[in-house]
């Protein structure tokens, strides 16, 4: 005789130790098994897209900082690329190289948090998280030298960057580059073959390649499912076509592969930074553009390989000092489309891990 059970709804509310920000999920559970989930968004909705219509093009840069506040430099860069495409502005060489170095450093910093938070969700009670923060601290110190801020940098401008690198930047960067591979090997040694991590994350939450493409996933989530698509290689922006780096992909698309993917991408970023440091020219760091940029009537879409995925800005201009419409393509929101199918049939503990492995930032989802 079977015992009659019925599913119940568990609300993993907006304030929760593990949902990476104010994100709410209503999970329908049958015992411990997840039957369905319904994500609820909007707890951090600030109306950034509407705000952009009332600010000048350069004045929108601080707004873009607050989108994915963990990787602010990438947001700034994506926005500036879109405006430069719309207005036809050419960026000087030194600015391009500085942008590449800063963007790749930002990628490493954001991926460190992603990996640390994922391991924290697996239950390794903050230890790997704090170790990763140790390295991120060094990167944030470099950014503080450059822009004066530690989280929302507001560093890029339309036509280049706001100011040149100070003198102490390069020696500090070289010191960081010497130590970082050693730290990455340390993490690999501690974590890659850890049996508990493999048991928790291997085979869990598999996202196949076609499903990832259908759900418009991008970034590490897409590449871990086996699809070899990276905007830096497929549609190079800035000067990425001058650097020599590989695009790692994984095979299965489970949580362990997504974790592996992020670690591999960090190593590739180190390669790019090394080459950029060697080739860095001198010159102006900002193009001669008026402070109130006034592009001609038209529209442009520019995209960037942000640490979370494809971050794009779609700008429509009507020849005034503020954009007519600015739409932000949020990688975190679109990567979450696949969450429901990935999670069905797994347990509550796996729900948290799968959700953590997609790596979202609510500032970007809600805008």
């Amino acid at each position: 005789m079977a015992v009659r059970t019925e599913p119940f709804v568990l609300n993993m509310g907006p304030v929760h130790p593990s949902t990476h920000g104010v994100f709410r999920m209503r999970a329908t559970l049958d015992g411990e098994v997840v039957v369905d989930i319904e994500p609820v968004f909007g707890y951090l909705h600030r109306g950034i897209e509407k705000l952009t219509e009332q600010r000048t093009y350069n004045g929108i840069v601080p707004l873009t900082d607050r989108l994915d506040y963990i990787s602010s430099m990438s947001n700034n860069l994506a926005y500036c690329l879109a405006v430069e495409k719309l207005a036809g502005i050419k960026v000087p060489e030194r600015a391009e190289y500085i942008r590449v170095i800063i963007a790749e450093l930002q990628r490493i910093a954001a991926l460190l948090i992603a990996v640390g938070a994922f391991l924290n969700d697996c239950g390794a009670y903050f230890t790997p998280f704090l170790y990763m923060f140790r390295e991120r601290e060094k990167i944030v110190d470099l950014f503080e030298m450059v822009s004066g801020q530690r989280l929302t940098y507001n560093y890029m401008r339309v036509g280049g960057v706001s100011q040149d690198l100070p003198e102490e930047f390069m020696p500090a960067l070289r010191k960081f580059m010497d130590k970082m591979p050693h730290y990455m090997d340390e993490y690999d040694q501690l974590l890659m073959q850890n049996e508990i991590l493999i048991a928790r994350a291997k085979g869990v939450g598999i996202l196949s390649g076609e499903q990832a493409i259908n759900c418009s996933a991008s970034g590490p989530v897409l590449r871990a499912s086996g699809v070899n698509w990276d905007i830096r290689k497929a549609d190079p922006y800035s000067i990425y076509d001058r650097f020599d780096f590989d695009i790692p992909t994984q095979t299965t698309g489970d949580c362990y592969d997504r974790y592996r993917q992020r670690v591999d991408e960090m190593r590739q970023s180190l390669r790019i930074i090394q080459q950029a440091i060697e080739q860095l020219p001198s010159g102006p760091v900002r193009a001669e553009v008026p402070h109130l940029v006034r592009p001609l009537v038209g529209e442009a879409y520019a995209r960037l390989e942000a640490p979370k995925g494809e971050l794009g800005f779609y700008l429509v201009s009507d020849n005034s000092i503020a954009p007519y419409r600015c739409h932000i393509r949020p990688p975190s929101l679109i990567n979450l489309t696949a969450l429901r199918d990935m999670v069905r049939g797994w347990k509550v503990a796996d729900l948290i891990i799968i959700f953590g492995s997609i790596d979202i930032t609510v500032g970007e989802i809600d805008r």
């Binding site: 909705h45 897209e49 259908n214 007519y324 679109i334």
Partner: protein
């Protein structure tokens, strides 16, 4: 480099299959009739040579007398992209067919457009507001919302 396909060539291909569905086409612009969007979407995804299997984004622009819904499609295999638009002239109850069955990635984005502009997408499994709460009055990203 991702090649951005010219609107004119694709327009001629679409016109062969579904005549009367293209409103306007130029090198950068391709506008589709609003009720034919789903057929054209399926056609673009399934035709060899086009193979637009990846939807980059769906968004809307308020052009005062009409809404313009913009789709950016890519093909990962051929590395080309195409931007198509659909216009919606009704301001009281604008509606378009939903492309969720073709590209599942449009799920949350169409809900966002409904929330912020008021455009309903027919055929969407969960047409509810996504960022603002259910009883919210008005659609903020419209130009006449202060």
């Amino acid at each position: 480099m991702t090649v951005s396909l010219s609107g004119k060539e694709v327009a001629s291909k679409i016109e062969e299959k579904f005549s009367g569905s293209v409103v306007e086409s130029s090198a950068e612009n391709l506008v589709i009739k609003s009720d034919r969007v789903l057929d054209v979407a399926r056609f673009l995804k399934e035709t060899d040579g086009l193979d637009f299997d990846y939807l980059n984004f769906v968004t809307a622009v308020d052009r005062y007398d009409h809404f313009e819904v913009v789709y950016l499609l890519s093909s990962l295999e051929h590395n080309h992209s195409l931007m198509i638009k659909a216009r919606c002239y009704d301001r009281e109850n604008p509606a378009l067919p939903s492309v969720v069955d073709v590209w599942q990635g449009a799920d949350f984005q169409e809900r966002e457009i409904y929330d912020l502009f008021g455009i309903k997408f027919e055929g969407h499994p969960n047409m509810k507001r996504i960022f603002l709460w259910d009883g919210f009055d008005g659609h903020p990203l419209r130009k006449d919302y202060i």
